[in-house]
Assembly symmetry: C2
Homo-oligomer: 147 residues x 2
DNA sequence: TTGATCATGATAATCGTTATCATTTTCGGG
DNA sequence: CCCGAAAATGATAACGATTATCATGATCAA
């Protein structure tokens, strides 16, 4: 048990910026960590609300942004106009494949693609800093159901 | 001069759905085609407004959606909360690389990546129907300027 | 020309997100 | 332990992009 917990990291991150760990931030972090899912601020707000009626949704938005800056969460944009967050600490980079019918989504990685992206960027004179890749398709289950 | 023009295609598309070609739709299509750029509805609205003060922005939004369904335009989502449209007819599929500093963007393709995406989807049981890939980086010019 | 249908423009409404701001909480000295 | 400065909170207003509504105007086929 010598590894830093997410909470440690967050506290440290906050302190470095002259900010404080609070009850609300703790609650939000816990709820976020407890849920292995891509969460929108709205969804997370709903979850936390069940435990603490008094929490404000602005605080959820604010804290998720902070978690993201602290490297504990990562913003995911499925392109439906809703921002989602996923765990980042201890979770490797990955992309997503999304079913257009049932919206099931999976995390995928392909080292060769990552490598080719790097080269592609270089070819156009860019130093690559990141990328977003979303694959859209129909999953096996939905294909079975019909068509 | 036997090839179908974009206008022909649009008229046909509209007719097939019991819709009509109108003055406004024509203006919007023309302005869209004249501009070789990723255009937001707002930008296109601005351009057209210079020629015809009376056009409504709702019409621009509506028409761009239609052009997109007709296969003449393609929606591009750079992830900044603004929808953009690019030419689709006679323009091959491509992805984008975007400079994080100056927002310059280029169209890129890599056949090997496309191929690997296909395989990756299959591996997870998906039939691939499409994808979005955005590479983010710093372009040569911006790197020269500083850092 | 004449309805019937479709399209338009103005505007209100929506939705996710962010800003504002008065109030409350936190925390390090005294 | 208490105080006051600084930071955080929650309620709510504001925002920007987009969509819905709806009365009015244009279009088309007979």
């Amino acid at each position: 048990m010598t590894g830093k917990t997410e909470k440690d990291i967050f506290v440290r991150f906050l302190a470095d910026r002259g900010m404080r760990m609070t009850n609300q931030r703790g609650l939000i972090l816990d709820a976020f960590l407890r849920t292995e899912k891509h969460l929108s601020p709205e969804e997370l707000y709903g979850l936390i609300r069940r435990k603490d009626r008094s929490i404000g949704q602005a605080t959820v938005y604010r804290t998720l942004k902070l978690l993201s800056e602290a490297g504990l969460a990562r913003e995911v944009d499925f392109g439906d106009g809703v921002l989602r967050y996923e765990h980042s600490y201890g979770h490797e980079h990955h992309d997503h494949i999304i079913c257009e019918r049932c919206h099931r989504n999976m995390e995928v990685v392909d080292e060769r693609i990552e490598e080719l992206q790097e080269r592609l960027a270089k070819k156009y004179g860019f130093r690559l800093t990141g990328h977003k890749m979303y694959l859209y398709g129909i999953c096996r289950e939905c294909r079975k159901k019909q068509g």
